[in-house]
Amino acid sequence: MKPAPFVHHAPRSVEEAVGVLGEVGHDGKILAGGQSLIPILNMRLASPAHLVDINRVTGLDTVEVTDEAVRIGALVRHAQLERHDGAYAALPLLRQALLNVAHPAIRNRGTTVGSIAHADAAGEMPAILALTDGVVEATGPGGTREIAAADFFLGALETSLAADELATAVRFRRFPSGTATAFAESARRHGDYAMAGVATAVTVVDGVIERATASFVSVTEVPTVLDLTEVLGGREPADADLEAAAEAVRQHVEPEADIHASAEYRRMLAGELARRVLALAAGQAAGHSAGRAATTKGSTSR
């Protein structure tokens, strides 16, 4: 259980890192937190000839909160984002999901951008990038480009990043006011890979559901967003047809069986978790919506 030999590169800047990636191409792999990559190396499921260790690259460890998004650099550890109060205030879904990412010792080392670039369908943060309609910022030899979440995930462990591109940051888009979010997953042991997980965002305007979406962990091949607005929209949260939403989820997911759970069990679980998180988010969004109406009465609408 030892990695095969590799050449270690320790660039100090994004330009230098991209330069190395350009030289080594498909023989290179980026090492950030390494909490998914190093197990793969230890088990020799992969043996890249070059590792581009970006841990000494400066300027990649910041969390920025703007009116539109929460932007995090490639070296922001899960634990750092989880504890960031500004990010939590702007987008509570981040902390709601991060608390389910592996165990604290893994979150102390692993990076959120790395987890997204790894694109494991059992990862929580790819599902969050999808649900927030987020963007990946990538730098390659030709410059910088932005990749929308919908175009980023191509398959299991496969993204649209080129071999010579470095994902330098991601932006999770904030939801419109009146939105509440919730996340839940079920694992055999807390912190293990989930058998199924569901993230949801529900927007309530004038007391009725205007929009409802969900994304999934471990039960879809790539993180996809299911729009539940047609099923839930136009009704008050208390009257929402959650069973119909759960059925839509059961039809949407494509779980596979493994030693932890059968495909049917995972499908059932996804439906049930969706019912619970939708109820939670819809209830909270209704509360927010009522509160906002009361406090902003008389002011111009924003």
Binding site: K2, P3, P5, H8, G34, Q35, I38, A105, R109
Partner: protein, 202 residues
């Protein structure tokens, strides 16, 4: 056959001088880039208190503190730990709140609690529990039993059934609080001045 292959590639591998501050001491060794931090500690620095179980981050036995935060030493390369501070189980007994125990050795609150509450049997997983619990109590000094169980969810023990480990975490929190009080009582000057001198004394 496979040994020979490994030897021949090892001979061709580039070596790096890696310096890591381990338990407060700068330690340097010349290692290949693929040397895991866990193996660096055990093989190169001969600090065998850090145990290696699964080598893919699941069991938690190899957990050490990197810059004070618990991390899996099997999921880090020594070259990446360059210039960082690492605390292993061997370093816990020199913590300010470690005290001599019946055998004369020093133990920090977590170590003392695991001994008192039978928080270990074979002891293989224990170094990982001790580092994890020590760091956890820094952030959560008064955990409930449920929180204690959650705190150790990333560490596997195949002997105890965890009941006594949860008790040990709670006991460690008590010991830690008691020793903190003692430290304050014993050093009134440092506490009350809060001056530049007081800062420098720490």
């Amino acid at each position: 056959m496979s040994d020979m292959t490994d030897l021949s590639t090892a001979a061709a591998e580039e070596l790096h001088d890696v310096t890591v501050y381990v338990n407060g001491v700068a330690r340097t060794a010349r290692v290949p880039a693929r040397r895991l931090l866990s193996d660096f500690l055990r093989h190169d620095l001969e600090l065998t208190g850090t145990h290696v179980g699964c080598e893919h981050g699941v069991c938690g036995a190899c957990t050490v503190l990197v810059d004070g935060q618990p991390m899996r030493s099997c999921l880090m390369f020594a070259v990446t730990a360059q210039d960082h501070e690492v605390t292993t189980v061997e370093g816990l007994c020199s913590a300010p709140d470690a005290r001599p125990c019946a055998t004369g050795e020093r133990m920090n609150p977590a170590q003392q609690a695991f001994a008192e509450c039978h928080g270990l049997q074979c002891g293989f997983c224990t170094p990982g529990f001790l580092t994890t619990v020590t760091a956890y109590l820094e952030e959560n000094p008064e955990p409930t039993a449920d929180e204690a169980r959650e705190a150790i969810s990333g560490n596997l023990c195949r002997c105890t059934g965890y009941q006594n480990i949860v008790k040990s975490v709670l006991r460690a929190a008590e010991l830690r609080a008691e020793r903190r009080e003692e430290t304050y009582a014993a050093q009134p000057a440092t506490r009350h001045t809060g001056s530049v001198d007081g800062e420098a004394a720490r």
